[in-house]
Amino acid sequence: MAQRRTNGSKLLMTVLCVVAACRAVPVTDLLDRASQRSDRLHSLSTMLTQELDSHFPPIGRVIMPRPAMCHTSSLQTPNDKEQALQVSESDLLSLARSLLRAWVDPLLVLSSSANTLPHPAQNSISNKIQELQEHSKSLGDGLNVLSGKMGPAAQTMSLLPYRGGNDLGQDKISKLINFQFLLSCLRRDSHKIDSFLKVLRCRAARMQPEMC
């Protein structure tokens, strides 16, 4: 009796797997969805930097840390169109995944700081950060699925730990400055992710020029 049950469940699992495989979403479609998410991510991060900039202490611009200090700056990425077009698909995907993964923790920090940010647009900023987190999570999941379909090279990820701590600063000015600095790093990385995924999408969709 018990054996029958395990056999039955095995059969069920097989059937489900077959069904799932038969109905698997094609890679081009997955890439398209991923690109749309990354586009939204980049749009949000751009809007955030602009919004924060609208009421920013001038001194902040002077003493803002340089982007080389971003926690993701150690990752080697292509820096122009030609370089980007020469990177292999798996590497492009791996870069995108590593960058995305690197922002999970900092987004948490940003999110908690946004609640008490001394800025007139604090509410809107806080909402956007939340949306960013959601899109980032769902994009991460999608890219995980994609990487499974693209071979072992795509599965490798670089680790880029965030060491900025949970606190963005004690006083108003340093809070704002560090917040803006993180956002500018995020904007750069979200643009990278978006650009890489769109190059990937275009490359994968050879039959569909409208994807380019």
Partner: protein, 500 residues
């Protein structure tokens, strides 16, 4: 003036001089000779990358110091050692510096400044710090064309444009999104529309006789918006201007008339198992009957007001309702037709009676032969004079009226069609019979004089084997079985046989 200069020199050489005095001297010097001064401080106006592959920086020179002044741009770049000078001062015009593809890198910081130099000194501008990502700003879209399209007397505006020059993206490196705005000529009210990545847009809410202005702009990867394109104007033609097209309008009218009065009506949508007419009739029982498909109800009495003839052919799921459709104008709602006869015969009969009738008929006419015409189940629509057959056929799956075909035709006054000959059903009113011995798809086993009558019912003949039936009430039939429920429980009457 020379004296003052000399004085200044020697005083600075060693003799202590009060700072204020020195300043006064200098001022006097500058007043006297404005041509001899270091250059004014230049101002870096900004930089722009139109396609994420190159960029240009512009500056505005300060006041000329009276001496020939040279401006030089210097830059530093993240991940690049040292300070470098502008690679190209010419391509982008005066007071500019052009960075070509080889010198443009994205996602790295540039630190740029301009220095003005003349014989008297160098004056740097304020530096500009930026990432190429931040200075992306495409040019405006080009070739905005407007076309007024006429569709069914309501014009709409079709707007088309091309991507900005120098941005042909076939690699996915850039994504351009467009936005357009439209306003009427004499108003200040622009309406904005987003077009996404499409390079065309259709505007439907336009008024004839008005001039519209259209502008388009774009963004690249969520960068700053480009400038608005040059304004394009279009005048929507007035309706009166359509007079020259009167012949076309007349032609349209003719087509409409032909469609409405000469050609058969287009059948409306049908839902399998649901009788539209019955639903329309609004009678609760009818409605229920129309909707119930799978239950075995006892056969119901035929309705009195069912004066409609009908020919229903079901071909594996398609319902053809020529008669009811034809008579839609008359708003008859009955789907269970037949004719007076049937009614009079049926209306008193109870289910049991009907059953009896059935048996009676069965015995009397030794008809009963179920037949399925390769999926076509028939419900004969008309009563014919003298038609004594009882067309009852069970429809296995379609919930429809059953007809029983009879092999031997007994006393038939009318003309029977041998439905077994039905080979194919095309559309509503048409069924193509096999050729054999059926001229015009008639299988007349008994040629009666009424043949001609029946032919009168032929509305249209398409080819040899195709006959379009014109439902026509002729009334009498000895036998009518009003309603019978198919196995699907569909309630319906069964009109007597016949037909042409």
């Amino acid at each position: 003036m020379l004296l003052l200069l000399l004085l200044l020199r020697f005083s600075g050489a060693g003799v202590r001089m009060k700072g204020g005095l020195r300043l006064v001297v200098l001022l006097m010097l500058s007043v006297e000779s404005s041509s001899l001064s270091p250059p004014g401080k230049p101002v870096l106006l900004g930089c722009r990358s139109p396609e994420k592959e190159t960029f240009t920086c512009w500056w505005k020179p300060g006041l000329d110091g009276g001496l020939p002044t040279v401006h030089r741009l210097y830059y530093e770049r993240e991940h690049l050692e040292g300070t470098h000078e502008c690679p190209d001062y010419r391509s982008a015009g005066s007071n500019s510096c052009f960075f070509d593809k080889n010198h443009t890198y994205i996602w790295v910081d540039y630190h740029v400044m301009v220095e003005a130099s003349n014989a008297l000194g160098n004056v740097p501008s304020d530096p500009l710090k930026f990432d190429v990502m931040e200075i992306v700003r495409p040019y405006a879209p080009e070739n905005v064309t407007l076309m007024v399209e006429e569709k069914q007397e309501s014009p709409y505006l079709h707007i088309r444009w091309k991507h900005p020059s120098n941005t042909v993206s076939r690699s996915g490196w850039i994504t351009i999104k467009y936005q357009l705005r439209v306003k009427q000529e004499n108003s200040n009210d622009w309406k904005n529309y987003t077009s996404g990545t499409q390079m065309g847009f259709s505007l439907y809410s336009i008024h004839p006789g008005v001039v519209y202005e259209v502008q388009v702009r774009c963004t690249l990867d969520h960068s700053s918006w480009s400038e608005w394109s040059n304004t394009t104007f279009v005048k929507i033609p007035n309706c009166e201007f359509q007079r020259p097209f009167a012949p076309f309008v007349a032609l349209q009218l003719v087509v409409k008339i032909v469609k409405r009065f000469l050609l058969p009506p287009v059948p409306g949508p049908k839902i399998r198992g649901v009788d539209v007419q019955l639903l329309k009739s609004g009678k609760s029982e009818d409605v229920l009957g129309a909707l119930i498909v799978n239950q075995n109800f006892p056969p119901m009495v035929a309705r009195k007001d069912q004066m409609e003839e009908y020919l229903i052919v079901s071909d594996g799921g398609e319902w053809l309702l020529p008669a009811p459709l034809k008579s839609q104008k008359k708003k008859k709602s009955s789907f269970i037709p037949a004719g007076f006869h049937l009614d009079s015969q049926c209306k008193e009969s109870t289910p049991s009676q009907v059953q009896e009738n059935k048996d009676e008929m069965k015995s009397s006419s030794n008809l009963e032969q179920k037949q399925e015409f390769s999926g076509i189940n028939f419900a004969a629509a008309d009563l014919q004079k003298g038609a004594s057959e009882n067309f009852m056929q069970r429809l296995p799956n379609s919930g429809y009226v059953d007809i029983q075909r009879q092999e031997n035709i007994v006393e038939v006054d009318g003309i029977l069609v041998d439905y077994s000959r039905v080979k194919e059903v095309n559309g509503d009113n048409v069924f193509i019979l096999q050729k054999e011995n059926v001229p015009l798809s008639l299988d007349v086993q008994r040629r009666e004089e009424s043949m001609s009558e029946d032919y009168s019912r032929v509305k249209e003949v398409n080819g040899d084997n195709v006959v379009l039936l014109n439902p026509h009430m002729t009334g009498l039939s000895k036998i009518g079985v009003c309603t019978d429920l198919s196995s699907d429980g569909y309630v319906d009457t069964i009109p007597a046989p016949s037909l042409i």
